[in-house]
Symmetry: C2
Subunit: 421 residues, 2 copies
């Protein structure tokens, strides 16, 4: 009756999953659809930026050679022969002591090599012809933005695997990427198991609870960057159930089940894995919560058997499913970002196994601090809402006191870790 | 020719905008559409959690009174009269020295008040009838999760204005929120101005650049939680342009323009505000970049005239438009979150005005540190891609040295500040 499972260390469990190479796939979307997606190719400058010499300020474009003699005691006068705004190109040939009135961003007229800002010039008219004069000299290049100053054509500006943010959107537009090559969202299938589960729209009855895990995991999949295929509750009958899993596997890259993976009397996931002939990577991990997590592989698809316990389910997804999804999004840092923080309160509970405590991590006067976001009872979903991190409390200790240094895994962060274990 | 504008302090500029109450609107979405939206009502527990007494572990439900005499030297035996999994309800009446085999999550059978975990029980059969025995006593409530232990019906569990995360999804499901009341996404209109602007699909020509600001701001609007209405480039002709702005105002809550707001010779936004009869909150702010930002109000709609300079445009949106959008999303902390960090490198530039430097803020051994993410030239868009924060360098200083404490505004954070100024 008691199947004995051998727990393996967390790092080893993660390693077994990550050694199994699920490769990301690329697709093209329009620039307007690309915010929040992951680049699957490096972003390369398709031209210099700026791609012409330009004025970074409003002023007068001049030949610096004509300003050489200008000084407080020697006013030098220029005839203003043209007037251009950004986007305009002067067609005038600029001769000795001639200037072009120029606005920020406009292309430097041919022959000019410096910009006199309005503030240091005096503008006036003589017989209806505009002039300006200065009392100081300018060097070649003064107040000029040179072609290629910000970026050179061919330069790699952003590495693949990067989440597209507003700044990257600006760069994509600058370089004419009307279509953007991004990682296709991995398709993640989701089954719930458990005769105790009601749908969200069903009324409560004694002994039954609403299925919250599926909604939670669906949001975790979205947060990670995957796309959710919810297949509903697995049927109670074994053969129908087996067929449902087999069919679902054809439609997705990863298949997640919640519940039914334990050694409880009504847990039949292990039998399904066996009948599939799936290769089991592990079925027990030395951690709390989530020790009964099972991960397996079948015909190139990964199966994640997460616990039906909400906290264990949450942690299991983040530790085991997230990194493989992020890898498929071309990330070089697919794991949750790990940082050090000071424990804010005592955590007196003894820890035979490494424990992941849902926590609120915050910054206090520039220092990272963390506090458990609820009582650490494994069936409490309430504490999940305020959690932005998982505190790692290594096993084999008698508890922790406030002020201790602890490690935290940041849940809402997009930077990630290469390998936190 | 030179319009003289009076710059006002940043805090005063933000205050003038926030005093103008644009109210958020509520809408209902299905739970499956609600991830990433903002709650516009407090999330209230519609039942106790758990809503029945249940077993938190696999084991045997017993009457604690029957275990009183059990000890290492006194084995007490129980007849196992039923066997239930989660979601099942035992119909048996439990008598003296009777037990029910029970799985995690199942409802405590009537009359039982403690659970004996499998590990401390010995299970066996006598004449085909299942029995178990124990060598220790249990108290009433041992290993029982009581109704209401995690949440009480009527309790406020999450405040309105909170971004819905995976944990909140779980709670919404638990409490049967098939439809969720969320903030309607504010409609933010967007116009670009500038004869120098090419569309993303146009080839570069001398003097012209592709319009990157609109794509950048569109992504910033999305990141903030608004919905983008892009109206394209404003026409060059004043009357057509005025009409376009007037019509757009009818379709949106906020209208953002980029460029044309300065005092350059081709900037006609000020004339549009004048002809509209808009109430100007300010048209110059004592800050760099972004000093020429204009914010106005007309018929209950806010107009944001952001600079055409990419960095100024970016900063102007985050400081002035973001908080009003977040307020419309019912947030109590609508401003960018402000934290203290250590400056990683020297920043020798003198600062007559408060400067916002695009920065990369990171955690090093539990301490927040920040470093400018590119050269601080106001026309460089490259530095925007790596920026996750804006460093605030107060005006009236001669520069800063590495190791200084500086303040940073976090761009990717969802917590926010109540009032950072």
């Amino acid at each position: 009756m008691f199947e004995r499972r051998k727990p393996i260390p967390i790092g080893e469990a993660v390693k077994r999953i990550m050694e199994y190479q699920l490769l990301g796939v690329t697709e093209q979307v329009t620039i307007n659809e690309s915010y929040g997606r992951f680049l699957s190719e490096d972003l390369i400058a398709t031209s210099d930026v700026p791609h012409f010499d330009r004025a970074p300020y409003d002023g007068f474009a001049v030949r610096s050679i004509d300003t050489r003699e200008a000084a407080l005691t020697n006013v030098v006068e220029f005839e203003v022969v043209d007037h251009i705004g950004a986007g305009m190109v002067s067609t005038k040939l600029i001769g000795e002591h001639q200037a072009v009135r120029i606005m920020t961003g406009a292309m430097m007229p041919e022959g000019t090599d410096a910009v006199v800002m309005f503030e240091v010039a005096k503008a006036y008219e003589k017989n209806g012809i505009p002039y300006m004069s200065i009392k100081r000299s300018f060097k070649k290049g003064d107040n000029v933005s040179y072609s290629g100053e910000d970026a050179k054509q061919g330069e790699i500006l952003v590495k693949k695997g990067t989440l597209i943010n507003p700044g990257i959107q600006a760069m994509l537009a600058t370089f004419g990427y009307e279509r953007v090559t991004v990682a296709k969202k991995p398709r993640v299938g989701l089954f719930a198991t458990g005769t105790e589960l009601l749908e969200v729209n069903e009324a409560l009855v004694p002994g039954k609870i609403r299925n919250s895990n599926s909604h939670m995991i669906a949001a975790q999949i979205e947060r990670t960057g995957g796309i959710v295929h919810y297949f509903g509750k697995l049927p109670d009958e074994f053969d129908t159930c087996f067929e449902a899993v087999q069919n679902a596997l054809n439609e997705v890259d990863l298949l997640i089940t919640t519940g039914g993976v334990s050694v409880g009397d009504f847990d039949y996931l292990p039998a399904i894995y066996e009948k599939l002939g799936a290769e089991i990577f592990f079925n027990k991990v030395a951690m709390r919560p989530g020790s009964v997590t099972t991960v397996a592989q079948h015909n190139g698809k990964l199966l994640f058997g997460l616990s039906g316990n909400p906290s264990a389910c949450y942690v299991g997804f983040e530790l085991f499913a997230r990194p493989i999804i992020r890898r498929m999004l071309f990330s070089e840092k697919p794991h949750l970002r790990k940082e050090q923080a000071l424990l804010e309160v005592d955590f007196p509970k003894a820890n035979p196994f490494t424990r992941f405590v849902r926590s609120s991590t915050f910054i206090d006067s520039g220092r990272l601090k963390a506090t458990p976001s609820g009582l650490d009872k494994s069936n409490i979903i309430m504490s999940l809402s305020g959690a932005n991190s998982l505190m790692i409390l290594p096993g084999g200790t008698r508890g922790y006191t406030a002020g201790c240094e602890v490690e935290v895994l940041l849940l809402e962060d997009q930077v990630g870790s290469e390998w936190p274990w």
